[in-house]
């Protein structure tokens, strides 16, 4: 059975501390000027003193129906059985279609390799060693869960079964594999 790797970001537990951002940069040698993941602390929204922040994880959504893969003329942007949207650097011709097509604006040109880059759930490094992605492993408040949603006993399956959650821009039909548990105080009411 194929895997369906998903990531769940609990915005209640997230404190926007950027531990994920730094761990990812270190693990994946992401150059300073670009980023594979950051959590934007947005707001505060509301009227004083009834305020709330939003903790917005900005990273690849690992779409099941990925526009970046669809528009890639050479197959450099591809999806394997693991469902992770990946990049084959050798096939890339640098047309930038994928960057233009991404509705989440999370693909970028790596200034060192000069090909598109983005989060791949640490597929080549940590995942290959059977470890969680760097962001999940270091998260101080355990706001992130990662796993195979096809495994009904996995933590992610249980979270998705038991907690309200939402995905970004579902109306586009991209079917993101990053799920978000909205903050009790803000975010989208599901």
């Amino acid at each position: 059975m194929t895997k369906r790797y998903v990531l769940v970001h609990d915005e209640n537990k997230c404190i926007g501390c950027q531990a994920c951002n730094v761990a990812c940069r270190s693990e994946n040698n992401v150059p300073e000027s670009v980023t594979r993941i950051q959590v934007r602390i947005e707001g505060p929204y509301g009227n004083f003193p009834n305020l709330h922040f939003k903790y917005n994880r900005v990273s690849c959504e690992q779409c099941e129906d990925a526009p970046c893969v669809k528009v890639c003329p050479t197959g450099a942007a591809y999806v394997n059985d693991d469902g992770i949207v990946s990049i084959n650097e050798k096939k890339c011709v640098g047309c930038l279609y994928c960057i233009a097509a991404c509705p989440y604006k999370v693909r970028f040109i790596n200034p060192e390799t000069r090909v598109p880059d983005k989060c791949d759930f640490c597929k080549e490094s940590r995942l290959a060693r059977g470890e969680d992605p760097a962001c999940v492993a270091v998260c101080p408040t355990q706001a992130l869960a990662f796993g195979d949603a096809n495994d009904l006993t996995s933590e992610v399956s249980q979270l998705l079964d038991s907690k309200n959650h939402y995905q970004h821009k579902v109306n586009l039909g991209t079917k993101p594999r990053v799920y978000r548990i909205p903050s009790r105080k803000g975010g989208i009411k599901v």
């Binding site: 531990a19 951002n21 693990e27 505060p44 004083f48 003193p49 998260c139 105080k185």
Partner: protein, 758 residues
Amino acid sequence: MKLDRRTFIKGAGAGTAGCALAALPGSIAALGSVTVQGSEESVASSCEMCSTRCPISARVVNGKNVSILGNKNAKSFGGAVCARGGAGHSLLYDKQRIVKPLKRVGERGEGKWAEIEWDEAYSLIAENLNKIKAKHGAESVAFSSKSGSLEGHLFHLAKTFGSPNTFTHASTCPAGYVVAAKAIFGGKIKRDLSNSKYIINFGHNLYEGINMSETRGMMNAQMEKGAKLVVFEPRFSIVADKADEWYAIKPGTDVAVALAMCHTLIADDLYDKDFVARYVEGFDEFAKEVKNYTPEWAEAISDVPAEDIRRITHEYAAAAPHALVDFGHRASFTTEEFEMRRALYAANVLVGNIERKGGLYFGKKASKYNKFAGESVAPTLSKPGVKNLPKIDAKRIDMVDEQYSLLWSSGGVYQSILDATLNAVPYQLHGWVMSRTNPMQTMTDRARIVESMQKLDFVVACDLYITESAAYADVFLPESTYLERDEEIKDKSGKNPAYYVRQRVVDTIGDTKPSWQIWKDVADKLGQGEYFPWDNMQTLQMFQVNKDVKLLDKIKRDGWVSYGKPLMLREPSMVNTFVSEYPNAITPDEDATYASHMSFKTPSGKIELSSSKVEKMAPGRGVIKYREVNMKKADELFFIQGKVAVHTNGATQNVPMLANLMSDNALWIHPITAGLMGISSGDKIRIYNDTGSEEGHALVTPGIRPDTVFAYMGCGSKNKELARATGKGIHCGNLLPHVTSPVTGMNLHTTGVKIAKI
């Protein structure tokens, strides 16, 4: 000379032109290329990106990078590291880090340095210190170090040299809660956030000032166990956002709300009478004093509605004893710091949460734990010491006033170095040896620190970067980073005994030394080598474990070793587990606890809500009392500061990865206040008061009271050597006046400022 921003920027412009910084003497950039060599296998060690010093697991990857993760053996830390911890390698090979000893070749603070060899550095230090000693006495040299940064070695040097004047950063950061705990409990106390059902928090921003086990513990209590969190803070911080209730309390009025809670607990008969009768001294005086501190009284002072204070207190008492009032960390909000921290402790004592799950508890080190167990569950460590040290007759410079006596053995009144240097109070200082401390950022009244450093005969700084303070040194000693150092085994006991150790992960880059080595070498040069009889860190570690090689190996291999089960003396379930685990354990009391074994190192042996000892030290302060304080002029705004998750106070602003995340600190201003002055977000503004003047940017946000402005501390360095931090943001220490709080000896961190658009 007063270095204002304009003259500074002129200087910095000249300094940075043409990439002059690339050639900063002694830097890794000057060294040329760097290779990272070290263990490819994970090494258990401890972080030093902040003072929490989390257990980490680190290894060199492909000879060019260092992977730093949390050590999973330390359960309460959960294998996590924060952004600062994860960025440790970015500090390690930062081109601007100094890896060669330097001596000043221009004026103090001018930024002209020459590389020298260690031997020359040591000779310069020995020559100058001995000269000062011969002329003015050894006591005229002050030694200061951030606590936890091998400060014991520097202070040992001070003792052998003959100076009693040793200081940590305590009075600029955590001394308030420590001194108050000494007065009430006779020593430090811990909080069991992870098991708490109701947490009342007065601006202890654990979700930005991250202390990994406490941050995780509180989040776990909130999210998995349904704990309620109430936050009183003038700013909408992350901890305020995560709270169930947030009250934008007026700055500096926390003590009034805390006292009104104590009032309510007593007046509404919610307090634990048995506990108070058995363990508390001075309750009647305290009760008499708080009788007038009604919630209505507190509302008028703090802007927190009386009905909420009353309701929250009732909820808190209902959740007790598994509930706590967090006694906070870095302060101080007002000069009434001592009363404020004591009032917070009092609110815990009254509900009898001491040694109960979710309340407050004392650390259980091996010797204490073993005594209860009736067997040697955990090994005890020996403390290396040296006999026949020279006797020091001189008094410490902060011993002028008896009221600070609780602080003398806990770091001292750091800022008294300035009074002694500038005003010869109580006598003239002539030298200052500082290690891993940056008072220009963390102390107050920056101009006064510059003046002091200019006036001294000789200044030595040991650090990783030429910090704002180190910029005024005569000799700069580059310390190895924590990734390149071995250190002594540290006791990390909580509810049960635990140890861990810092170990070298990578080979030393450049020509740096760990500071324990540096101070030993200096002692040799001063002719005091006999007082440093150990060869190296291994000798010291071996002494600690009483030559138990297996134990040392285990601590090094696992990186975190804990023994036994968690024990809280008044928690029946824990005592029950403990007793069934250890057959020779002390027999519990009738109520199945160790309550009768609870003791306090106070004069009465009880918890002293009112203290005759304090009354003697500081007349009028024996009983906790509210006093009105004036922290700003009528036409000024309150200026408060706080921590951010991606930086450690004034220490990490130049670390590349962290500077990349945040290098500026805008001033938070409420839209109403900003509107009156025509200020919009991003506008350039001047922030000024009688102490200093700063330029920065505005961030207009509803997340702050209209009468208050806020900035994250640590930005706005003014020395040219910190290229990524210099001139960026508001320097908070330049706006805070030099005021020392009664009894705690703390610097003051709230003041008034005016703002103008420029």
